[in-house]
């Protein structure tokens, strides 16, 4: 690994170093929301008198990420974590709320010519390395594309050297430059994706399930590289995953999402040692315990409700063992209780 680290530090010298601690957070999302219109076509709505149908994929999510830190978002499929990722890189426009990056309103900036500068600083790593790399491009073109696009490096020689550096920084050989994606294994492809994301020397990386498609031994390689790069270049990550063990390994803060909202947001150790929200507890209980074999997990009954027709009150109430009338009628808001942010009436009232 030492060779990798050497090359990474070579890269770092050229990139801007993080600002001193105590500054404003690098990323701040305020009441971020995204609603999709999933109504039937106009004619059907008129003839069959169907109402418009709105899917609130993300419904008011707020968080801060300090420079050089990692916020992990966890939750089951359909809870809106990937939508948050896409909102933060500007692939979706927010329906409500805003997202500040380094003190400026990012969604407004994305629309202006200066937005290109901003996009350089925010990059994304996708889940499936088989789908996110163009199969007809060689690795050099894949990694050099952002450099050409943003006119960061125009001299062919320098471009060459830069691609080599990037490949080395993710533990690959410069000779891999001329190969096509299909010649690599899943883990190597994911490293190519990381190298491409790093090409513009971003400060903030949005990683949407970067290791879910990988085997555990390869997952360990990729996670190690991501942590090395973070330490050496002061990167800030938003890390999305449904694997709580991975989240515990990489994150500083953890946000738990359920049906488009944050239900708990806490520092890693607080969340894993003393989870407050019943949903967080349920997720933690559902992790298979490796070393007490044969021990059955306590399965939770029920499933995530249909997001088109979410239950009234707290969205988790049909599955929650502590639900009462208030939970069924009044939606809890995320508030600070005992040092963590949690959206639960039962915790607020001290019932659990």
């Amino acid at each position: 690994m030492s060779a990798v680290e050497k090359h990474v530090s070579a890269l770092t010298e050229r990139s801007a170093l993080p600002a001193p601690a105590g500054a404003a957070p690098l990323v701040r999302a305020t009441d971020l929301a995204k609603t999709f219109d999933v109504s039937a076509p106009w004619l059907n709505r008129v003839l069959e008198r169907q109402p418009r149908q709105l899917l609130r994929a993300v419904d008011g999510v707020s968080f801060d990420i300090a420079r050089g830190e990692t916020l992990a978002l966890v939750g089951e499929s359909g809870c809106g974590k990937s939508t948050v990722a896409r909102l933060l890189v500007g692939l979706y426009e927010a329906t409500r709320g805003g997202f500040e990056f380094d003190g400026q309103d990012a969604h407004a900036a994305f629309k202006t010519p200066q937005g290109r500068q901003l996009r350089r600083r925010i990059q994304m790593i996708f889940q499936d390395p088989y789908a996110s790399l163009n199969p007809r491009w060689i690795v050099e073109d894949i990694i050099a594309e952002p450099l050409r696009e943003h006119a960061i490096e125009t001299d062919p020689q320098a471009l060459h050297a830069r691609v080599d550096d990037l490949l080395r920084s993710v533990g690959m050989s410069p000779q891999d430059r001329v190969k096509y994606p299909h010649q690599f294994s899943g883990g190597q492809r994911q490293r190519i994706s990381i190298a491409r994301a790093l090409a513009t020397q971003p400060e903030f990386l949005v990683c949407d399930e970067p290791t879910s498609a990988l085997d555990v031994s390869v997952q360990a390689q990729v996670l190690n590289i991501m942590k090395d790069l973070q330490r050496q270049q002061g990167l800030t990550y938003l890390f999305i995953s449904h694997n709580l063990a991975v989240v515990r390994h990489v994150s500083d803060q953890v946000g738990v999402m359920y049906l488009g909202r944050l239900v708990e947001l806490a520092p890693k150790h607080t969340l894993f040692d003393s989870p407050r929200h019943p949903y967080t507890r349920m997720l933690l209980d559902a992790i298979p315990k490796m070393h007490d074999t044969g021990q059955a997990r306590t399965p939770v009954s029920g499933e995530v409700p249909n997001p088109l027709n979410p239950p009234a009150g707290c969205a988790f109430n049909p599955r929650c063992p502590h639900a009462n009338d208030r939970c069924r009628n009044e939606r809890p808001v995320l508030q600070s209780i005992g040092g963590v942010r949690v959206a639960c009436h039962a915790v607020e009232e001290g019932r659990i």
């Binding site: 089951e76 499929s77 294994s185 899943g186 883990g187 190597q188 085997d215 555990v216 031994s217 390869v218 997952q219 360990a220 390689q221 996670l223 190690n224 942590k227 090395d228 449904h242 709580l244 063990a245 991975v246 515990r248 390994h249 894993f272 349920m282 997720l283 209980d285 559902a286 992790i287 298979p288 315990k289 490796m290 070393h291 074999t293 044969g294 021990q295 059955a296 997990r297 306590t298 399965p299 939770v300 009954s301 499933e303 995530v304």
Partner: protein, 327 residues
């Protein structure tokens, strides 16, 4: 007597550049009512082992040598029609993706009834009653109404329950479950695993559970076989394999998994990748990645040897008395 016995199974894929050996000399057995886990990385041959047992190898893949015995009778050389009767009746199968293993054009009831009437001497009305009972047993609420629904009307977890009901339809003694929970969320995964365990216990069915998730193996299985590059690297009781792995690969695999109870800056990683089928090294297939490799590993291929409580294909256990390998 064991329910299923696999003896020296070799599966080959003829290709233009020579024959690829995807499974190389695999032997194991499953006792009645036992849950055997098969674990390994992608391409290790886990699913292929399952497919050989249920007779669903995709051509040009073929069983080149070895035997598969169910109740002492060979099933690897049965003609297609004979094998069709074994599959479903004696061996049930559950696959990874519950959406693709159900026909989207037929209601789940029709698919269940078809399976039941194919294998059991029941008429339509009896079969429908049995189908409803099966759906109830697998925990589907309002089974009487749900039986006429189509697969797209079910959620992922519910669909997997339907697939389990289908696999159980003709009371098979063996169920081959290939990554049954991989496509599901953790909370649903726990429900399905609990269901699979309790249903097999109640009916005395044996299960071959194929997965890459050590956590699922740990809480479900009696014994586990770890596969690497088409061979079994280690096999033994599940708590022994997990807590005292004898093969360096098993030890490395266990150490790669992020641990919930300790903080580590870096995870243990096994450098390199599993070899491709056309470039399997001589000697032990794991030798280029192994931390404890020595001369014999590069020359001679190890077979499964007794290594304390488990059996491991590793020369470390050949001469000296068995001891656990530290990660």
């Amino acid at each position: 007597m064991s329910l299923l016995e696999v003896k020296n199974l070799v599966v080959e894929f003829p290709s233009r550049r020579g024959t690829l050996r995807a499974l190389d000399d695999i032997s194991f057995s499953i006792a009645p009512g036992e849950i055997l886990g098969v674990v390994g990385e992608s391409g290790a041959g886990k699913s292929l082992t399952g497919a050989s047992i249920i007779g669903l190898l995709e051509p040009p893949g073929r069983v080149a040598s070895g035997q598969i015995l169910l109740h002492g009778q060979r099933i690897d050389n049965l003609p297609y029609e004979e094998m069709r009767k074994v599959r479903g009746r004696k061996i049930g199968a559950i696959f990874q993706d519950p959406l693709t293993s159900l026909n989207p054009l037929y209601s789940v009831g029709r698919q269940l009834i078809e399976t039941i009437t194919t294998h059991l001497p029941l008429n339509q009305a009896q079969a429908r009653k049995r189908a409803i009972d099966l759906l109830k047993d697998t925990g589907i609420p309002a089974a009487e109404q749900r039986i006429d629904h189509f697969p797209h009307q079910f959620s992922g977890g519910m669909r997997q329950r339907v697939v389990i009901a289908l696999a159980l339809a003709a009371e098979p003694q063996l169920i081959v479950a290939d990554e049954p929970t991989t496509a599901l969320d953790v909370s649903i995964q726990a429900q399905i695993i609990t269901l699979l365990k309790s249903i097999c216990k109640d009916r005395g069915a044996a299960v071959m559970l194929i997965t890459h998730d050590m956590g699922v193996i740990a809480e479900t299985c009696d014994r586990v076989a770890v596969m690497y590059a088409g061979r079994i690297a280690e096999v033994g009781p599940v708590h022994e394999v997990i807590n005292h792995p004898a093969h360096p690969y098993t030890a490395g695999l266990m150490a790669c998994i992020p641990d919930m109870s300790v903080d580590r800056e870096r995870l243990h990683q096994i450098d390199g990748a599993m070899p491709r089928l056309n470039a399997i090294p001589t000697g032990c297939a794991y030798n280029p990645r192994c931390e404890r490799v020595f001369d014999r590993c590069r020359e001679e291929r190890p077979d499964l040897i007794d290594a304390g409580a488990t059996r491991a294909a590793c020369w470390l256990h050949a001469a000296q008395p068995a001891q656990g390998v530290a990660a």
